[in-house]
């Protein structure tokens, strides 16, 4: 069943919309959904006060499809802890999208703010535009990053993509900021564009593939070999790639693949092979 949400007005302060998930909408009538509580700044509001609601939730979360229209850049935590079903955002979305989600699918036609898919466990997030910082990262202070699922970003992503990532896949078709795959334990990050550097800092496992350029490799990584291609999620990506191992400062065994052709300034590593 499709539930459509349209903001009644523009928001100035953050709206904490933890209730906006298929799990909570399931089995609720349109009236019940309207009565759900969320917070705008420090005020408690009913969902119906802020959004125009159409449609009702299906019997199970799996049957629920939430369609969000309009300007929801201030709306946070949409799809938090969702286990099934679908959320489609026809525009830009605020922070903490799909936080700790355990299943289901989120589609964003525009861009997402920081913390998209942070601590997610399963499911899929696809963002057509850009994403902010901390995609699939652990919350500050925590070491429990993304532990499963897939995040696909068609635009660019910010800093610290996949911080403390433990499993799963993050694909970025654009560029990434600094510290992609920081503290990474396992899983795969594929960057089709460029990296601003410091990729894989303190990583102890997992793989980072950078098909574009990178200013430099951290000194705590050592070159291992040149690989003609890399396989990511059934997909063969042709290189050649320099393969680095690190982060040795952490005794790590992570793999950092960097395009050879796009990074001629890293050619000096070849003499250590």
């Amino acid at each position: 069943m499709v539930v459509t949400l349209r903001p009644k007005r523009s928001f100035w302060v953050p709206v904490d919309a933890e209730c906006l998930t298929p799990d909570i909408f399931a089995g609720k009538s349109s009236r019940e959904i309207t009565a759900l509580k969320l917070r705008e700044g420090n005020r408690e509001r009913a969902l119906g006060e802020l959004f125009e609601v159409e449609g009702e939730g299906g019997a199970t979360p799996k049957e629920v499809s939430i369609q969000v229209f309009g300007d929801v850049r201030k709306v946070r935590r949409i799809g938090a802890r969702m286990s099934a079903g679908e959320i489609v955002v026809h525009g830009d979305i605020g922070m903490h999208l799909g936080e700790e989600m355990t299943g289901g699918r989120i589609m964003v036609a525009g861009s997402a703010d920081s913390w998209a898919g942070s601590m997610m466990k399963k499911g899929t997030i696809e963002i057509k535009g850009d994403a902010g910082d901390y995609v699939g990262a652990a919350y500050r202070g925590s070491t429990a990053g993304m532990s499963g699922g897939t995040i696909i970003i068609h635009g660019n992503a910010g800093n610290e993509v996949g911080c403390f990532m433990r499993r799963g896949l993050i694909k970025v078709y654009g560029n990434v900021g600094q510290f992609a795959g920081m503290h990474m334990r396992n899983g795969v990050i594929l960057v089709r564009g460029n990296s601003e550097g410091r990729a894989g800092a303190e990583m102890t496992g997992g793989r980072i593939v950078i098909c574009g350029s990178i200013p430099s490799i951290l000194p705590t990584f050592t070159i291992d070999s040149v690989r003609p291609r890399v396989k990511v999620d059934e997909e063969e990506i042709s290189g050649p790639f320099y393969m680095f191992v690190g982060d040795l400062a952490e005794g790590g065994d992570g793999r950092l693949y960097v395009s050879q052709t796009r990074n001629p300034h890293l050619g000096f590593y070849e003499k250590y092979l």
């Binding site: 917070r39 420090n42 408690e44 652990a138 919350y139 500050r140 202070g141 925590s142």
Partner: protein, 565 residues
């Protein structure tokens, strides 16, 4: 102030030998009185409910520089537990290290009204009191850390007990402290040089004094000053296998100082000091040995430090121990306060059911409190937040009261730990009277708080009412009912005012801060010039600025003692 009449509750007041009698309680002007009458008496119908004195917590790290550093270290701890503001309460965050306001509200919701913060570096007294001022509803106090203070070490090395007593008296006044706290005596000073002490006879580097001499010396000082509480000791070697010997040695070393039945030493969070075995593989419980000793002697009191399987934050003034914990767990850590004559450490920690060591630790706490026959000797704590946040007290109460509740946990813990635990052989179940002793009357008595922990005429009207009917409910079978009742007090009355109703805070009041005011004697004035000179020489703070003025406390409540110095 309004008058209150609490009608028909089952009253548990062990200090006055009232054991579940159905009776009325009258409250006037914040005190318990014989009776009230006339118009305007507010009546609380407590029929079918349990009425107890407000809870007293003898050891809970709720304020101070180290607690605050722990808050800074753990944003992920705040993130998962958020309290929204209401008309009467402020917002707050924190599961294992809640913010100050949340701490006050959560204690009140469980029916606790008096809480002791057990570790205040004297130099950080101002900070500690500022946080305590912001901790609403509950009455509180803080124990200055004196076991590694340079003045104390030097006086005790020269065996100058009277001078040391004068210094301790001055410190109590200066820091607005309540009791003498020793944490790993001598070991923290050694930690300043990257070392630790091995046992209570291992001399402290550069000071040529042993932990035994520090413990005995401060115990004598404590008696000389007639302090309301005994010395409050976190033993040497805490958290190491085989340390139950050290705990026993520590209790034994002051045995001869006891006069009559009065306790002279409090061993805090004893669970962490009751480890047997030579390493983590041969690790087992030493609860039986400690319980045997405590059952045979009357000079020592303990508190549990009960482990609950959860994600928490360990923080003690025991830097060397925390460093080991940091190495074992691989978690982030902070070493704090080394410059303030102590050395706190903070490490986030998760107690896991399936871990052999953690499961044994869980068992030790309960074994101690079930094997020690006299509930007046052991009190309920979780050493908040070290073994668990204080919000798990109701869970601990249900374990004490119900063998079924313990068995349920036993089924889920590490198999080897289950085989070695003594718990299946213990069928003791606490009665409500015993629960009232370990959670209020006992700690109040040990702390010398004569107004607290009982409901006799003249006592402070701090009352907790729990919605559980001991006549209808089988407490040992329906442990979940008990737990829920203790989680959300039906009423908490603080100083004669209803502050909590049905588990929700309905009024926020300021609690008192207790401190020991040792009546000025000549020797305190005599040591002042020496202190001033030493401050000029060694301290980064001036003698005058070091002292916390009375007006710095939101509600100052000095406890006057007349020293024999």
């Amino acid at each position: 102030m309004a008058e209150l009449l609490i009608k028909n509750g089952f009253v548990y007041d062990p200090m006055n030998n009232i054991d579940g009698e159905r009776m009325d309680l009258a409250v006037k002007d914040g005190k318990i009185v014989e009776n009230v009458g006339g118009k305007g008496v507010k009546i609380i119908n407590a029929s079918g409910m349990v009425v107890m004195p407000g809870g007293v917590d003898i050891h809970s790290h709720i304020a101070g520089a180290k607690v605050n550093a722990g808050r800074l270290l753990r944003p992920e701890d705040h993130f998962k537990d958020v309290e929204v503001k209401t008309a009467v309460t402020r917002s707050g965050v924190g599961y294992s290290i809640p913010s100050t306001f949340t701490t006050g509200y959560r204690y009140a919701r469980m029916g606790y009204t008096t809480v002791m913060d057990p570790a205040m570096p004297p130099l950080k007294a101002r900070h500690t009191h500022e946080e305590l001022n912001d901790t609403p509803i509950i009455d509180k106090a803080s124990y200055p850390l004196l076991g590694d203070c340079w003045f104390v070490l030097e006086y005790l090395r020269e065996n100058m007990i009277e001078e040391c007593a004068a210094y301790v008296a001055w410190t109590m006044n200066a820091t607005k402290g309540y009791a003498v706290k020793l944490v790993n005596p001598g070991g923290l000073e050694a930690w300043g040089f990257g070392r630790n002490v091995r046992d209570i006879d291992d001399p402290v580097p550069h000071f040529n004094i042993t932990p035994r001499e520090i413990i005995r010396g401060l115990c004598k000082v404590n008696q000389l000053l007639k302090m309301p509480h005994t010395i409050h000791v976190h033993t040497n070697n805490l958290g190491k296998p085989g340390n139950y010997v050290t705990a026993l040695e520590t209790m034994k070393c002051v045995e001869d100082l006891a006069k009559g039945d009065k306790p002279v030493i409090h061993i805090t969070h004893c669970q962490f000091s009751a480890f047997k075995g030579s390493d983590w593989r041969t690790f087992e419980s030493g609860a039986e040995e400690i319980a045997r000793y405590v059952n045979q002697h009357s000079h020592a009191t303990l508190d549990m430090g009960q482990v609950v399987f959860t994600d928490t934050t360990t923080m003690t003034a025991d830097g060397p121990f925390q460093y080991i914990l940091h190495q074992i767990s691989g978690n982030k850590w902070i070493n704090h306060d080394v410059e303030t004559e102590t050395s706190a450490g903070i490490v986030p920690f998760r107690y896991r059911r399936k871990s052999y060591v953690h499961a044994i630790q869980w068992s030790i706490g309960l074994e101690l409190s079930l094997l020690i026959e006299d509930p007046w000797k052991i009190y309920l704590t979780t050493d908040h937040p070290n073994a668990a946040p204080f919000t798990s007290y109701p869970r601990v109460v249900s374990w004490l009261m119900s063998q079924a509740a313990r068995e349920k946990v036993m089924k889920k813990i590490n198999r080897k730990a289950r085989r070695r635990s003594l718990l299946p052989s213990i069928d003791r179940e606490y009665t409500l009277r015993e629960v009232a002793i370990v959670t209020r009357a006992g700690p109040a008595k040990a702390l010398g708080l004569t107004q607290k922990g009982h409901l006799g005429v003249g006592a402070d009207a701090d009352i907790a009412i729990y919605n559980v009917n001991p006549e209808r409910v089988n407490l040992s079978k329906k442990y979940k009912t008990v737990r829920r009742a203790f989680q959300r007090a039906a009423y908490t009355i603080k100083n004669g005012e209803v502050v909590v109703k049905n588990g929700e805070v309905v009024k926020s009041v300021n609690g008192k801060t207790f401190w020991v005011n040792v009546k000025a004697s000549p020797s305190i004035i005599e040591i002042a010039p020496t202190l001033q000179r030493e401050f000029e020489k060694y301290y980064t703070v001036r003698y005058e600025n070091y002292q916390v003025p009375t007006h710095h406390l939101a509600v100052s409540s000095p406890v006057l003692v007349e020293a024999r110095v």
